[in-house]
């Protein structure tokens, strides 16, 4: 797999609502990315597609380091993309950092996001 990372600057922390998220569309039919900001101002990014039936995670309620999918209430761990509780499945997790107040996400040119970590 191509390991080169391209870091994209997607704006400031304040562009993402606290306990909320923004969507980043991608070209080439790739699944959009949901960028989340938690109550303690940490930033996470996942593919915007619930492992259950594809619900848009960016429309969910963010609580702690988790998001609840708006369609059937699966609860997804933001750090790993993994479904919590009894459910199983994983939304691809994408590296994201805050550098000098700017939010940057890392994309391998053709990847569809990482697997489940942790």
């Amino acid at each position: 797999m191509d390991q080169t990372l391209i870091w994209l600057d997607i704006g400031t922390l304040d562009d993402i609502p606290r306990q909320g998220s923004r969507v980043l569309h991608r070209d080439g039919g790739l699944v959009p990315i949901a960028v989340f900001r938690t109550v303690d101002d940490q930033v996470f990014a996942l593919e915007d597609r619930c492992p259950h039936k594809g619900g848009p995670l960016s429309d969910g309620i963010v609580h702690g380091h988790r998001v609840t999918c708006p369609l059937h209430n699966w609860v997804i761990d933001l750090a790993t993309g993994g479904a919590t509780g009894p459910d199983e499945g994983c939304a691809g997790s994408i590296p994201v950092e805050v550098r000098r107040g700017r939010v940057v996400v890392a994309l391998t040119p053709r990847s569809t996001g990482g697997g489940c970590h942790g």
Partner: protein, 821 residues
């Protein structure tokens, strides 16, 4: 006056329907039921209640019903004659009869005095002005609540236990509060200087104005209280002054009837006064020169007294050490024994400034003599146990201050710690119930809940601060068989249920989600998808116009004002008032559908048109176009008013008796935009044929020849429920007022996500009728509150968003550039 020569049963008269008197009667009934004909006189017009809980009653954390100890049925079931609100004014000892204020005469063979104490009023100038209140009974709490309802400022004189609980309660009720305390630190009789300082700082942080070494010179005012002047001439404005400077045994009757009285009614170890036919218990007594002001010693007295009345052997009353807690939510304070120390004592002090913890343990001759804990009182019960046992703590000395977890190998796990306690360890300090008693009750009587333990053992029945310990005991004793919560918490983030969250939001003046989570000790940093929307609703309902809606705590539909579909697109349903539309609206809908390539148009079950499959980014533009044709959001997504279905009514229909379309439009115009616990649907039918299906709606109106039938609590859905008839009215104005009042009652009482049907079944139709139908004044007030909050609710969320509000929801992150490394 007749005297029955050979009474079948002996007559016991009790003067004082308070805590000590009724505890004695309870103990007596347990030992010798039926031995006495019992008559009780109480000066207060209430049944026996838990006086300790007046503080949470004041702050709003409890209701009067919560603090009743014995209700009317208890008196009846036990054959007790109760004269409530009728004080005894004279005791005729020669003829053995008492006389009440209303003239009732009750003969006795045995008399029990349990008249409690009177609050002390310092006789400074102005002390008789209206607005000067004490803190002793329900009437005092009512007076304080009435003052708090008018808002303004309160001055509390006295920074002891009662004064501080009054001050915090008044603050919770929205008053500005100043506490004046004569001594150099608060609660100086229970805690030392350091703990007093921490307490004062904590109270200041909660917004109380605490003034030490403040000596009151005068209460000023002409017709009523206007302020307090101190001896140093400082003036403090006040609309109400609460005097909480101490209590004095109420021994007036005893003194008047010639019994031996010093400060209190003098009793011996068997609770007998100088007249052997008269016993006395409670705060009115003086035993070995000491008067008591806490319940624990009174319970011991009650046991001795009941033994005597039942004709059993008793070892007599022996005073024991007592402990104190301050019942202010969020302040952890414990004190017991001699905490001042002295030359023959050794102090162990532990501080943790970061956590605001202070502990001071006083040792005398290698034994624990006293303890003051502030900021972390979890080990209070353990220290108190060591103190009462007079245990030799020399070996524990080095780790004593760290608490039980570090002493003698007991585990830090609270359940294990409780398990490690000996059977003689006291669990409930108020009622003197030890571990062995509770465990035996659980195993022999098959108890499985906290309430049952309370009922059988009295543990946790007074101040309740040992409830946690009792739960641990239940868990430990029953193992797997124990399910902790009787009430269902809102979710895993809290132990509070919906009703207590609502009550506490109002009582503590909590006005934001973080404030609720802090104040009610949420277990997660920011809740979850279950509790946050509920809290957001409760705050909106409690503080209309003041609370700012928290978008991140709403489900996506309510956040973006459209319904999410399975493919992530949205549906849009504009309002069609009463199901009526016109060519202009229909044309605009058609244009919008074409312009934004909306795949599906459908007529809904709610008499309007649904545009399905709208892309999220297009929503603001779609709304702008619909707004331009005069249409607003139909709230088809909301826990709010949905639709008002109508039939054609007498405007067209040959059977119609009233104008149902007009009525439907009027109701929808009045109620649209309102947030409710769950969705709220209405319908108006023009005659009893009921073509609008009004009898499965939350509020259904069916026209008749003479007026309107109002139906409530209907529901379609999985469990169909037909409405109940609320009442019949004649005018359209009445329909409007009843509708608003009913909706407001539901808004104030319904639990989040509870529709009117289950709410009605929970509270009962009669409950709703009593408030909305029978009580015209209350109906008017409910309606007023509904209309007041509608003033803040009726702005179209679509127009706001079309104008740019919450734009981040609808605009993706713009195409981005590569970051600089």
């Amino acid at each position: 006056m007749t005297h029955t020569p050979f009474p079948m049963r002996r007559r016991l008269v009790v003067i004082g329907n308070g805590m000590a008197g009724m505890r004695t009667v309870e103990e007596l009934l347990a030992r010798a039921p039926g031995r006495y004909d019992i008559t009780v006189f109480g000066a207060e017009p209430h049944v026996n209640y838990n006086r300790i809980m007046l503080s949470p009653l004041l702050s709003g954390e409890k209701t009067f019903a919560d603090i009743v100890i014995n209700d009317r049925a208890w008196y009846t079931d036990n054959g007790i004659t109760l004269h409530a609100g009728d004080p005894v004014v004279a005791i005729d000892r020669a003829n053995r009869v008492v006389r009440s204020a209303s003239g009732v005469e009750a003969p006795y063979e045995c008399l029990l005095l349990a008249t409690g104490s009177d609050p002390i009023i310092i006789p400074v100038p102005g002390h008789t002005l209206p607005g000067v209140i004490t803190f002793r009974d329900v009437a005092d709490v009512d007076a304080m609540l009435a003052a708090a309802a008018r808002g303004g400022r309160a001055v509390v004189i006295g920074g002891g236990l009662l004064g501080l609980e009054a001050a915090v309660g008044l603050k919770a009720r929205g008053m500005e509060v100043t506490v004046l305390h004569l001594a150099g630190h608060l609660m100086e009789r229970q805690i030392d200087v350091s703990a007093g300082w921490l307490l004062a700082e904590d109270l200041k942080r909660r917004g109380l104005d605490v003034r030490l070494e403040a000596d009151t010179a005068e209460i000023v005012g002409i017709d009523r209280v206007e302020g307090v002047r101190l001896k140093d001439d400082t003036m403090i404005a006040a609309d109400v002054v609460v005097m909480a400077v101490g209590i004095r045994p109420n021994a007036r009757l005893a003194r008047d009837s010639g019994l031996a009285v010093n400060r209190g009614v003098v009793v011996d170890d068997l609770m007998a006064t100088s007249d052997p036919a008269i016993l006395a218990v409670g705060e009115c007594v003086e035993h070995r020169g000491v008067c008591h002001g806490l319940v624990a010693p009174l319970w011991d007295m009650a046991r001795v007294c009941a033994d005597r009345l039942a004709g059993l052997d008793t070892s007599g009353y022996e005073p024991a050490a007592t402990s104190t807690k301050l019942k202010v939510t969020g302040v952890d304070l414990f004190s017991a024994g001699d905490f001042q120390g002295g030359p023959d004592c050794e102090d162990i002090v532990f501080r943790d400034a970061g956590r605001g913890v202070y502990k001071r343990i006083v040792l005398r001759d290698g034994k624990l003599a006293g303890a003051v804990l502030y900021g972390d009182a979890t080990d209070g019960a353990w220290y108190f146990q060591l103190l009462r046992e007079g245990a030799d703590v020399g070996a524990l000395r080095d780790t004593l201050a760290f608490g039980q977890a570090y002493a003698g190998g007991a585990q830090a796990n609270p359940s294990a710690a409780v398990a490690a306690l000996p059977d003689t360890a006291e669990i409930c300090g108020c009622n003197g119930v030890c571990k062995g008693t509770i465990v035996t009750a659980i195993t022999t009587q098959g108890l499985t809940t906290l309430d049952e333990v309370k009922a059988h053992t009295k543990a946790a029945g007074s101040c309740g601060s040992c409830s946690g310990l009792v739960e641990h005991l239940l868990a430990h004793t029953l193992g797997e068989g124990y399910e902790a919560q009787a009430v269902k918490p809102v979710c895993g983030c809290t132990d509070h249920d919906h009703d207590s969250v609502r009550r506490l939001i109002a009582a503590k003046g909590l006005k934001s989600i973080p404030a609720v989570m802090q104040g009610l000790e949420w277990k997660t940093p920011d809740g979850c998808h279950t509790c946050r929307p509920a809290l957001n609703y409760y705050l909106l309902a409690a503080w209309p116009g003041e609370y700012e809606d928290h978008a991140a705590s709403r489900f996506i539909n309510e956040r973006v004002h459209a319904n999410i579909q399975k493919d992530g697109t949205f549906s849009v349903i504009p309002r069609m008032w009463g199901g009526l539309t016109n060519p202009r609206e229909l044309r605009a809908i058609a244009d919008v559908a074409e312009r934004y390539a909306i795949p599906t148009l459908k007529v809904t079950g709610g008499q309007r048109i649904d545009l399905l499959g709208v892309r999220k980014e297009d929503l603001p533009a779609v709304w702008a176009d619909l707004n331009a044709a005069g249409m607003v959001s139909g709230h088809a997504y909301g826990k709010s008013l949905r639709t008002v279905k109508t039939c054609v009514g007498n405007e067209w229909c040959r059977f119609g008796t009233q104008a149902s379309m007009e009525m439907g439009v009027q109701l929808e115009r009045m109620t649209w935009g309102s947030w409710t616990p769950h969705k709220f649907k209405m319908a108006v039918s023009g005659c009893p044929r009921n073509c609008a299906e009004a009898t499965i709606k939350d509020f259904g109106v069916v026209a008749t020849d003479g007026g309107w039938d109002l139906h409530v609590g209907g529901n379609g859905g999985i469990h169909v429920r037909a409405t109940d008839l609320l009442c019949k009215v004649t005018t359209a104005e009445e329909v409007i007022e009843y509708c608003g009042a009913f909706m407001q009652l539901y808004r104030e009482e319904g639990r989040y996500l509870e529709r009117t049907a289950p709410w009605l079944e929970r509270v009962g139709l009669a409950h709703i009728q009593a408030r909305v139908v029978d009580d015209a004044e209350n109906r008017r007030l409910l309606f007023g509150r509904f209309m007041a909050s509608q003033r803040h609710a009726q702005s179209d969320p679509w127009a706001e968003r079309a104008a740019g509000k919450e734009a981040h929801e609808f605009t993706p992150i713009p195409i981005t550039r590569q970051a600089a490394e």
